[in-house]
Amino acid sequence: MSEMVARLEGFWAMPMAQSLASAAVVVVLGFVLAKLVNRRLRVGGLKSQTRLLVRRFLTTVILAITGVWALSLAGVDMAVLLGTAGFVTVAVGFAAQTSVSNLISGVFLMTEQPFKIGDAIEVDGTRGEVIVIDLMSVKLRTFDNLLVRIPNEMMLKAKLTNITHFEIRRYDLSVGVAYKEDLARVREIMLEVADNNPLCLQEPAPLILFLGFGDSAVNYQFSVWVKRESYLALRNSIAEELKSAFDAAGVEIPFPHRTIYTGSRTTPLPVRVLDRPEDPR
């Protein structure tokens, strides 16, 4: 036992051991400080997105400073290290062009804030809820529960649609009615359907747009406004209710059809049912 204590005392007497111990203390101090800063920021009144960015930046800075300090205490020659770091930086810089681009794009995204965590967005045909905004990428949870990671550079370049940015949305339903129908009555029915559905906003009022005389139907766009949380419920209910209302009023939603025209004064085309031809064999 006494031999072990003597050995430890001897080890401690070495300058190298004291330097390493000091370096270890500095590293531990760095981690504690980083954690304290994280906790302090959690109670601040910052937005979650900004808090995340600031927290990561401060953690990186604190750990970098304490790391360099610890290396210095451990006896590493910083001049040599920094000299080497210059070469390494050039090499890494070439290799990490994409990463740096993503990083800078991330800073731009966080500054511009076209969306926030929890928003539903669409990027390049991918729709989903934003669950993480990092310096390098944005992670989406698609509505079928898949994780999609989109690099920030792509986020910045692509056309981005924030689906939930505004409190209300408009749902457009295209509908065609037969040419024989009374169009004023059709309009009335559509307005009644909107009036009977409490999810439809009263203001902005429902909108009925005439789209044109189509091949098979008179085409309309029936647009109703809804609060964003009720969008899917309205989308399902309004189509069913409109179909039921049209059915009840005898309004036809026609299938595509063709009228064969043989002249203005012709009688209808004669149709004759022939017997089945005999088998030539």
Partner: protein, 274 residues
């Protein structure tokens, strides 16, 4: 059969013995509330008759399974209290009302209008009045109140019109009425197409004679040709019904010197495309 506090009052406490139920009808809404071991069971359905004024209360009532019972909600509770209470309440969002025909209020003129609001119903169970459910008697339409589709506030739309005459006030049981004094202090006339009232800040009062529900009187003062108006809620029962009794507190604590965007114009179709 137990009656409410007065013949016209459909709300208030009631005792529903275990295994039995209580039945209420308030306009188009039919409620059946059953007391079972460890739970309250609420079934509600709407007849869709928006103009129904029928009010009925039957407590206790023998429970008989009914196919047209409607949506059923269950609430697990401890204790053996048979007390259930129905409390009318105002909406949890601001309410927008429109006059049947918009009208002008000339500069430096004051008028009182009567505005109807949809009613909510709160279900409180037990002696400690545990809130079980809070729902609209007739779900009102959502509506948007603001100058465009980006800026504004999501509100409820009232199905009753705001009236200039007390005689035209809608006294259906699923409505509450507010007398709003509008003082147009601006140098221009006010074209009133719709008005928004912050009903979560208002209390409910019951008229002992008719059972009709009212809120405190409200004063809105329009200054400097702006839509923003200082809101003043006059504490106490409405001036027209000094003997009215308070039946529900406001949902939100009232704030002094609130400025509300109370007056607004309707959206034009064009605005939806710009």
């Amino acid at each position: 059969m137990e009656k409410g506090n007065s013949d016209s009052e459909w709300w208030g406490p009631a005792l529903v013995p275990f295994g039995q139920c209580g039945r209420w009808q308030v306009g188009p809404l039919h409620l059946c509330i059953r007391r079972l071991d460890g739970e309250w069971r609420l079934s509600k359905r709407s007849t869709g008759e928006l103009h129904s004024t029928a009010v009925h209360r039957e407590v206790p009532s023998v429970y008989e399974p009914d196919q047209a019972e409607g949506a059923v909600s269950r609430f697990g509770v401890s204790g053996a209290s048979e007390r259930i209470e129905l409390v009318p309440a105002l909406a949890d969002r601001h309410v927008v009302s429109t006059p049947k025909l918009p009208f002008y209020i000339p500069a430096n003129e004051s008028v009182t209008i009567f505005v109807g609001h949809p009613l909510w119903l709160q279900l409180l169970a037990g002696d400690d009045r545990l809130l079980l459910s809070d729902f609209a008697i007739q779900q009102p339409h959502d509506t948007w109140f603001g100058p465009d589709t980006q800026t504004g506030k999501l509100c409820y739309a009232s199905r009753s019109f705001c009236q200039l005459s007390l005689g035209e006030v809608d006294d259906r049981p699923l409505r509450a009425t507010t007398a709003v004094l509008i003082k147009n202090r601006a140098s221009s006339e006010l074209y009133l197409e719709r008005i928004k009232l912050p009903v979560p800040y208002l209390s409910l009062f019951a008229d002992p004679a008719s059972g009709g529900l009212w809120t405190e009187d409200v004063v809105l003062e329009r200054l400097d040709d702006e839509d923003l108006a200082p809101l003043q809620v006059r504490s106490g029962p409405p001036a027209l019904l000094p003997r009215a009794r308070k039946t529900a507190e406001p949902r939100n604590a009232s704030q002094a010197n609130v400025m509300v965007r109370a007056f607004g114009s309707l959206f034009s179709s064009r605005a939806q495309f710009e």
